[in-house]
Structures are given as structure tokens and as C-alpha cells.
């Protein structure tokens, strides 16, 4: 009897592993390349398609805990307006740039975790956490220079002559002082919690301590504006 016959047959996983790394005796290099290319396109297309599905309003609001946000958002100009142009959840909360989009998607795992835990499952719990959740979003927006707002809004293309005087004045001041959208436009899509101005000031100070991302950044200017707005 030969040694080969005495050797026990390897398990399924080991056989699959060996087959995976063995050279193909029946398929040409061209066939493997073309098949690999087509499989690559299918896989990547499927991945991207699935990712885009998670960007829809239906997906975002399918969790019970998102009902409060949705209700508040439906009262705002970003949901309903004279032109019919809308910004859905992902337009404000998911970056367009690939690496930042992936980062946002990975970080969004915490939303599923807290949905399962029921961290904000009742109106009381939601209100208790509202300031904390808002501050987390403000921090992200401030740190990215309101990147997601700027996908649609740009100072460069604002016609100040057709804006309200107050808006035109403040936008020009924002340009001069290097401010960013979220410095003034907190609560643009969701209700503001009590003490939000102090919390926003805290976010600005915290970020100013971590990173100075623009030379012309004027913390005092933002502080003075926040002070004015509070009055």
C-alpha cells in the first residue's frame, strides 16, 4: 500500500484553501483576467449600489429613534420649499468624498448600536441626549469647515444684492472673519436644545485647542457673534 493511500483525507476547509492557491490547469490566463475583471466590476458595483441605498431618506429614518429627527426636519426649508430642491439626511450628514464617506458610514455603526440599546428610545431619553448629539454633529461640521453645507452653498456664488439685508451683512462678515456655516446656522434642520449657544462655544474652544485649520480663524469674532445672537 502506498503512503498516499495511508494519508487521511484533509478536511473540507484545508482542501478549499489548497485549491484556492493551486495554479489552474484548465483555465487560461486570459480567461482568469477577464473573469476577474467582470467579477470586480460586479462586486464593486454591488458594493457601491448598497452603499447608496444606505444614503436614502427611507433607510435613514427606518429606525424608530429617527422619527423625532424626521418630524423636526419636515418643518424646515430643507424638506419643503418654493423651488422643490431638497436636502435629505445624507446630504448634510454624509460627505461626498470617498474616504470621508466611508469614515461616516463606519462611524454610523454607533447609531445601530444605540438603536438596539434603546439609548434614545423615548422622548425623555431623546431630550436628555439632544445637546450631546447636536454637539457631536457641530464638532464634525466645524472641524470640516461645514464641508457638507458647502456641497450646495458657496459664498463665492452668493448674490448679496438679492439676499435680505441682515443675511447679506452677516454672510459678508462671515467671509471677512473666516467663519463657517455652522457658526451661525445651528438648528437649521432640527430643534435646538436649551443651552446650545454655550455648548457651541465650548465646541469652538475645544477645536481651537486641537487644531487651527485656518490662519484667519477668528474665535473672538465667533464668540462675539454668538453673544449677539444670544441677546
Amino acid at each position: 500500500m502506498s503512503d498516499k493511500e495511508n494519508t487521511p483525507r484533509p478536511g473540507l476547509l484545508r482542501r478549499l484553501w489548497r485549491a484556492f492557491w493551486s495554479p489552474s490547469g484548465v483555465l487560461s490566463t486570459g480567461f482568469l483576467l477577464i473573469a476577474g475583471f467582470i467579477c470586480g466590476i460586479l462586486f464593486w458595483g454591488g458594493f457601491h449600489w448598497s452603499l447608496e441605498l444606505t444614503n436614502t431618506e427611507e433607510f435613514c429614518t427606518s429606525c424608530h429613534t429617527m422619527e423625532t429627527n424626521l418630524g423636526e426636519y419636515r418643518e424646515t426649508v430643507h424638506y419643503n420649499n418654493h423651488s422643490g430642491v431638497r436636502a435629505i439626511c445624507s446630504d448634510c450628514h454624509v460627505p461626498h468624498e470617498w474616504q470621508y464617506k466611508m469614515k461616516a458610514k463606519i462611524m454610523a455603526v454607533k447609531d445601530v448600536y444605540h438603536e438596539v440599546l434603546g439609548t434614545i428610545s423615548t422622548p425623555e431619553k431623546y431630550e436628555e441626549r439632544r445637546l450631546e448629539m447636536a454637539a457631536a454633529v457641530w464638532k464634525k461640521m466645524k472641524a470640516s469647515d461645514s464641508r457638507e453645507c458647502r456641497n450646495c452653498h458657496a459664498f463665492e456664488y452668493m448674490d448679496f444684492t438679492i439676499q435680505e439685508t441682515r443675511a447679506a451683512d452677516n454672510h459678508q462678515r462671515a467671509i471677512d472673519e473666516g467663519m463657517t456655516c455652522i457658526d451661525c446656522h445651528q438648528g437649521i434642520a432640527h430643534d435646538l436644545p436649551p443651552g446650545y449657544l454655550e455648548e457651541y462655544e465650548h465646541v469652538v474652544e475645544e477645536l481651537a485647542g486641537e487644531v487651527r485649520y485656518r490662519g484667519e480663524e477668528d474665535l473672538a469674532g465667533i464668540r462675539s457673534y454668538l453673544g449677539t445672537a444670544a441677546d
Binding site: 470617498w98 474616504q99 458647502r150
Partner: protein, 90 residues
């Protein structure tokens, strides 16, 4: 907690982005571990420069982003090289 998630997100974004994918691809082109790591690291360095930031804002890429991108690029290059060693005779 958010900082850990932030770091995990940055790592995940790099793995699914240019440093991870092109790093592995370039690593598969050589049997030399150092060349593979170097090519992966180079992609990791170039990736934030080319694709980092955004078209509409002026936020510089942070040191963490560079560090994560280069590290992921090097690991991806080495992984690609390991695939070459295991799966090819040339």
C-alpha cells in the same frame, strides 16, 4: 468613544480607499517585501495629498490621516506581496 470611532473610521476609509486597494495591487507586483512596503507607503502618502480634503473647503489634512494612510498602505503592500509569494511561482 467618538475618538476611537473616528480613528476606526479613518482606518476603514483608508482600507477601502486608494491606500488599501492600490497598495495591495502594487504589492502583488513584486516579490520583494521592501519594495512592496515602499510602494504601499508611497501610495499611502500620496493618497491624502491627491484625494484628501474637499473641493469646497480649506481644511488641511491632519497628521493622523497621513499616519493612518501610510500605515494602511504599507500593510496593504505587504499583504499584496504575501499574496504574490503564496499564489505565484514567478
Amino acid at each position: 468613544m467618538l475618538n476611537i470611532l473616528d480613528l476606526l473610521g479613518t482606518i476603514g476609509g483608508s482600507i477601502l480607499g486608494l491606500p488599501g486597494i492600490l497598495g495591495t495591487g502594487l504589492g502583488m507586483m513584486t516579490r520583494n517585501w521592501f519594495v512592496a512596503a515602499g510602494l504601499g507607503g508611497l501610495i499611502g502618502l500620496l493618497s491624502p495629498m491627491v484625494l484628501g480634503g474637499s473641493h469646497s473647503t480649506h481644511v488641511p489634512i491632519t497628521l493622523t490621516e497621513y499616519a493612518v494612510s501610510i500605515s494602511v498602505g504599507i500593510i496593504a503592500g505587504l499583504l499584496g506581496c504575501a499574496i504574490r509569494h503564496k499564489g505565484a511561482t514567478v
